[in-house]
């Protein structure tokens, strides 16, 4: 960023037409004998010059930093407009009228362009549809940039998505590459697609959308990128036996018992290997308020008792956290005797398994069945010995119906780099679902390579 770039940003921020008019207006004022001898006029001129110099000195980052100059420049532009149409020959006046009309038209058009430039209004819906079609409409994915508050906010509001710049697309893709980023470009960028395809454990689902805007066809390329995540409907007869090398001993939830009896068992059973936590829906970040294990003889927290998601069930594990609406119990069976039910009426509840394993490639899978529309978030947390943690979302999906699904995803060695141990988990947002057969198995490199080739 150089100082000279400010001279590009300032006209852009003020509006290039008004900037030119203002310069001419200033020139006219300086030549005007009335103003020429007016020291106040010179004071104002020096102040405006100072405002420009200030923005050059601090090297404004975007044209929005020049917004403070709009009013003085508009006033100077008005001086030009008013002065240009008085006391001149008719032909000159007519010419100036035409000039003003043309430039006025350009300003008007800029206004209209800014109004109609939202090419991305249906982005989320279109990606939904596109992914649904590409996978036979068996299920749909919620496409979203988790961890990236602005897009998260937009998608949760169901709002139209604003403009996304090319360089930000790059950040999305490479910064949050395991999250189904929908990247939107005005022009196709072959470099990005090439780079994505080279990344380990990634897949590119590309879609070209043509949109008619202001009588012009705008082409957009939308890329949905994912890891090797699978979410397929599965019947009970198709459920495979657990792998011998499964690292999650508690993958089946059969050990879970009725609420009255099972707390102690669950505590022993999950022990230090699992924790349940609720993420504050307001923060929408991993700044979680952790559920703590409460001895069964302690009364449940009042907030959880009256919460919408908890009132129908006897919460097996209550939170001492202030967040209501979460419960977990095991009175329903997917496979075997019992399954874990995670309910999050308003927010997110997570179940995470903590493993201290060597770095490598793993496949993480589970069975899930739940209410239509329930959002499931598969995530993992890289933990370091110094207490530093980083939660990364692997996949976000919305259950399209009440069928049983198998979710499978993979972690690469890069994903677990710098981790002393890690946690894999699943979260439920705004709904409820039953989980079973959690499995975490090492994946031989050659298998992964073969799948990548597909």
């Amino acid at each position: 960023m150089t100082m000279l770039e400010a001279f590009e940003k300032i006209p852009k921020g003020v509006n290039i037409i008004i900037f030119i008019w203002a310069l001419i207006g200033l020139y006219l004022l300086i030549r005007d004998p009335k103003f020429k001898k007016d020291k106040y006029f010179w004071l104002y001129t020096v102040v405006i010059a100072f405002m420009v110099a200030w923005r050059v000195a601090i090297r404004i980052l975007t044209s929005r930093y020049a917004a403070g100059l709009i009013i003085p420049f508009v006033v100077l532009a008005s001086v030009f407009l008013v002065n240009s149409v008085k006391r001149r020959h008719l032909i000159v006046r007519l010419g100036l009228y035409v000039l003003i009309a043309v430039t006025g038209f350009i300003v008007l058009k800029m206004n209209l362009d800014s109004t109609t430039r939202n090419y991305y209004s249906d982005t989320i819906a279109e990606i939904y549809e596109d992914l649904g079609q590409s996978r036979g409409k068996d299920y749909t994915f919620l496409v979203e940039h988790d961890d990236y508050s602005r897009i998260y906010f937009l998608t949760h509001l169901g709002k139209k998505v604003g403009r996304i710049k090319d360089e930000e697309v790059h950040d999305f893709v490479f910064g949050y590459r395991r999250i189904y980023p929908d990247t939107i470009l005005n022009t196709p960028s072959k470099n990005i697609t090439d780079e994505i395809s080279r990344l380990d454990n990634m897949r590119l689902l590309a879609s070209l959308i043509e949109k008619k805007t202001s009588k012009r066809i705008k082409k957009q390329f939308i890329y949905a990128v994912s890891g090797h995540d699978e979410c397929v409907p599965i019947s009970k007869s198709q459920i495979a036996p657990r792998a011998e090398n499964d690292l999650l001993e508690n993958g089946d939830m059969e050990e879970l018992d009725s609420p009255e009896e099972s707390f102690g068992k669950l505590e022993t059973y999950l022990g230090n290997e699992a924790l349940i936590r609720a993420v504050d829906p307001a923060l929408r970040t991993p700044r979680a308020a952790y559920f703590t294990f409460v001895p069964p003889d302690e009364p449940p927290a009042p907030s959880a008792e009256g919460a919408p998601g908890a009132k129908d069930y006897d919460p097996l594990i209550n939170g001492t956290a202030i967040l209501p609406g979460f419960s977990m119990q095991s009175d329903f069976s997917i496979d075997g005797d019992r399954s874990a039910r995670i309910c999050a009426a308003d927010g997110t509840a997570s179940l995470m398994f903590e493993k201290r394993v060597q770095s490598g490639r793993y496949e993480y899978s589970m069975l899930v069945q739940g209410e239509t529309g329930t959002e499931i978030c598969v995530s993992y947390e890289v933990c370091r010995a110094d207490g530093d943690r980083e939660l990364r979302t692997v996949a976000l999906l919305t259950l399209p119906d009440k069928r049983l699904f198998q979710v499978r995803t993979r972690f690469s060695a890069e994903d677990l780099a710098d981790a002393d141990f890690f946690r894999v988990g699943v979260s439920v947002r705004n709904g409820e679902a039953f989980f079973d057969d959690f499995s975490l198995s090492p994946v031989p490199a050659e298998v992964l390579t073969a799948r990548d080739a597909d």
Binding site: V107, N111, G162
Partner: protein
């Protein structure tokens, strides 16, 4: 050519009031039209609303300043949050309402500033017209972003500065301090008006419009009202987040000054 000179003081006052109301109405109409055509949210607007939501739900602004969003503009966020709490509307409606209100007032202030600057009602009306249809201002006004607060307050500041230049009184410089404080807490760039104010005061002393004593008094009035405004804003934030005010004030001030100084690359 119609005579645009306004002779009687009263009729001039009412004419100006009418013009101001008309400009405001026209400005509001244009912005509402824009909002109807394109209700999309800018990315930054979404970020601000996200912060406001977090603040409302956690009652905690402290973490925004210290961790998540060190450059979060306190005044716009606080005013959106306050309107949400007073009326029960969501963050987007509160933000857009405030933005529309302030953004539509900008052409009115622009009109009066142009009148003071050029002393021509024709130029002032053209300025107001340009400000009403200015693409960027129209876009800002329908988005809950800090630019509306910033432009509105610095426009008000510049207008009061013009008044102070024409006839300097301690009261006017005090008003400048209030608007300077409000604009600084909307956007850091408004700090540029500190040297501008100093420049104007020196100008007035140099041309013997005011005495040295009056200059000092005016400068003190500006600084005091600026400080009082800043403390009031901080108190409002602190009142909600229940943190020690001096701690928060200290952090905000240090960050404001550090941010300001770090961006100067002369």
């Amino acid at each position: 050519m119609p005579d645009t000179r306004l002779t009687s003081k009263n009729s001039r006052y009412y004419a100006m009031l009418c013009i101001g109301v008309l400009i405001y109405a026209a400005s509001l109409l244009v912005r509402l039209g824009k909002l109807l055509i394109d209700p999309s949210l800018l990315r930054d607007a979404a970020v601000y609303l996200n912060w406001v939501n977090s603040w409302v739900e956690t009652g905690d602004f402290y973490f925004l300043i210290l961790g998540k969003a060190p450059m979060a503009p306190p005044l716009p966020l606080w005013s959106i949050k306050t309107l949400m709490e007073l009326t029960g509307v969501d963050a987007e409606i509160a933000g857009r309402t405030l933005s529309l209100f302030l953004g539509s007032l900008i052409p009115v202030i622009g009109f009066f500033f142009a009148l003071r600057f050029t002393r021509s009602i024709r130029i002032s009306l053209v300025s107001a017209l340009l400000l009403i249809v200015h693409p960027r201002l129209v876009e800002f006004s329908v988005q809950p972003i800090r630019e509306n607060w910033y432009i509105f307050f610095i426009a008000a500041l510049v207008f009061v500065l013009c008044e102070a230049v024409r006839k300097s009184t301690v009261l006017k410089w005090g008003a400048c301090g209030i608007f300077l404080g409000l604009s600084t807490f909307s956007r850091l760039e408004a700090m540029e008006f500190f040297p501008v104010a100093a420049l104007i005061l020196l100008f007035l002393v140099f041309f013997k419009k005011i005495s040295l004593k009056e200059m000092l008094l005016s400068g003190i009035a500006l600084c005091l009202t600026f400080g009082a405004t800043a403390l009031l804003v901080l108190w409002g934030i602190d009142f909600d987040s229940r943190f020690l005010s001096m701690d928060l004030a200290w952090n905000v001030w240090v960050r404001l000054l550090a941010g300001w100084l770090s961006r100067i690359h002369l």
